[in-house]
């Protein structure tokens, strides 16, 4: 497979097409516009569905419609517009309708700025919609990984009949790098015959009607449903966790970071290692399910964990829950759309490695 130089957004779009995505529904918002633009020509060329929806609300509800028939479908958007989709994402989770949502984060709150950010960790992972539900969230840090995880998003969405989000940031969406594009789908096809809507059929195929609803009124119905769905979530937590452990084994300091920031942190880790500072990087790839057990085991007996994010500290909550007070946690972040560069992270590592007492704010950080 030869490499091609591709923009992150376009690579995500092509990966979706190759995964077998039949329908794309979108609405423009920076910094993910190239996805819709790419789809508008490529999907039509091969006879698939592209709709420029009237709003993100419309787009995500079209996704529900396509998903209800067991069709691979996707929408893409960014921050303040992903906010508009949350009601539907919550409904998809409870109606168990699959669908892929690509979220390319920009800075917030509000309309914020179009510059890169990771401030929608809560929005994606904790769910901006109502009720008890989970969204599967995958966070790539390179374009090649974005390609793979886009295809995996379709697989996971169908396998678990759950909304699945690929969480990227403006940098990943806008940058280019050489990628190996799988010609087809790198993951297997999931059978949907048992549940998908297709009409009630004739003759031997005749069956009773199925309904996929998010309203579940009546004695105990919702209680039982939610418990059943949470058993499914437990399975996902058990089977689908992904993370990267980079030089953590002998490290004194563990950096936790995801997405583009983890990539930047890797440069800083390399630079620090050259100076003999023992530092490693733990990068959650699935943000939900969060690699809690794995992080706990990795950070055991380490001196300090340094969480780095392009926000005021969101994933750090999951980091702290995972560590459960076993290791002091420091934070370094930027918000408002500014990028963290590797020398800033390097300096932070240097500072921590010189501190005799790690985690002086241990009490405060738990």
């Amino acid at each position: 497979m030869s490499k091609i130089l591709m923009k992150g957004n376009e690579a995500i779009a092509q990966a979706a097409i190759n995964a077998g995505c039949q329908c794309y529904f979108g609405y423009p918002i920076t910094p993910q516009n190239e996805i819709g633009e790419y789809m508008s020509s490529k999907m039509i060329e091969i006879g698939r569905t592209y709709i420029s929806a009237e709003s993100e609300l419309a787009a995500v509800n079209m996704l529900i419609g396509a998903g209800s028939t067991g069709t691979l479908a996707m929408t893409s958007s960014s921050s303040c517009a992903i906010a508009l989709m949350q009601e539907a994402i919550s409904s998809m989770a409870t109606a168990e309708i699959p669908g892929v949502i690509i979220s390319v984060m920009r800075a917030g709150p509000g309309l914020g700025d179009i510059t890169p950010s990771q401030a929608d960790y809560f929005q994606s992972v904790k769910g901006g919609g109502n009720g008890d539900y989970r969204t599967i969230v995958l966070a790539p840090s390179t374009i090649s990984e974005a390609v793979l995880l886009t295809q995996k998003s379709f697989y996971l969405a169908m396998k678990y009949r759950n909304p699945t989000m690929l969480l990227a940031d403006g940098i990943l969406g806008q940058m280019m790098e050489p990628v190996e594009m799988p010609e087809g789908n790198a993951f297997s096809t999931v059978n949907t015959d048992e549940w998908a809507l297709d009409g009630t059929g004739e003759g031997a195929q005749k069956r009773d009607g199925r309904s996929l609803m998010s309203l579940h009124m009546g004695d105990d119905i919702l209680e039982r449903l939610n418990h059943r769905i949470f058993k499914k979530y437990a399975q996902i937590e058990e089977k689908e966790v992904m993370y990267e452990n980079y030089l953590c084994d002998d490290a004194d300091i563990i950096i936790t970071a995801f997405g583009t920031v983890a990539r930047v942190a890797k440069s800083a880790v390399n630079a620090a290692r050259e100076k003999g500072i023992k530092v490693g990087l733990f990068r959650p790839i699935t943000l939900w399910p969060f690699p809690s057990k794995e992080l706990f085991a990795t950070a055991k007996n380490k001196k300090c964990v340094l969480d780095i994010e392009l926000n005021m500290g969101q994933m750090i909550q999951d980091v702290k829950i995972a560590l459960n007070g076993s290791v002091p946690v420091e934070f370094f972040g930027k918000t408002g759309g500014a990028i963290i560069n590797s020398s800033e992270i390097y300096n932070k590592i240097l500072e921590l490695s010189k501190e005799k007492q790690y985690g002086t704010n241990l009490a405060a950080s738990i």
């Binding site: 529900i64 419609g65 309708i97 809507l197 297709d198 009409g199 309904s211 996929l212 998010s214």
Partner: protein
Amino acid sequence: MEQTLQQVFKRPEPYKKNYNYPFCAGCGHGVVLRLIAEVLEELKIHTKTIATASVGCSINLDKFYNLDIVGADHGRAPCVATGVKRSKPDKIVFTYQGDGDAATIGFNELMHTALRGENITTICVNNTNFGMTGGQASATSILGQVTATTKNGRDPKISGYPAKISEMISNCDGAAFVARVAIFSPQSIIKAKAAIKKAFECQIKGLGFAFVEVIAACPTGWKLKPVQALEYIKNEVTKVHRLGIFKDFTESMA
């Protein structure tokens, strides 16, 4: 003269065998749901139909129908149906919505679905109020109508004017069939069924978006007795929401 017993009234095929009737006495929903079921059966399309339920009393679709049904959030049924139809273009896809859903919170979605000429059918039961939440004013409530949120009657200075959705949708080039009918008498019910049938035929022929607005009674929300509610439709509501076929491409393009 030899005589045989002929069945003149039966459970439509798309109905569930043991369906629950969840509506209030005198409610129009039961009639409209039956008309749709009869039409689906007569056109022999019920086994390849995927219905989209919406929010409001209209959500009770799955209590009645033995069909494939996907539920939509508030006002988004036309989008959900769009996704279904684009995924399964050979299936018959319809939305069943109320006026609070289609004409109020989901008006943007409805209009754009019509503008796209989406080849689906929307049946909108317009009872000029939010029935399920307790009879509050909706976009289609007529001037002077007393509701839970217009206790002295709808005053345009406070809450604006009624949305005449069929007229607005008929202005969309993508709409191929648009009709407003009402159910307050046997004759009007027969006309309503004819319009619903055309709206599905329109989809079968692939002509574009088909829309039927059915003015129906909500005695509970209107705080009227069922019979008074029917008179209210005839004497008041249809004076504002005029009945008629606003657009019909099924004849010219058949």
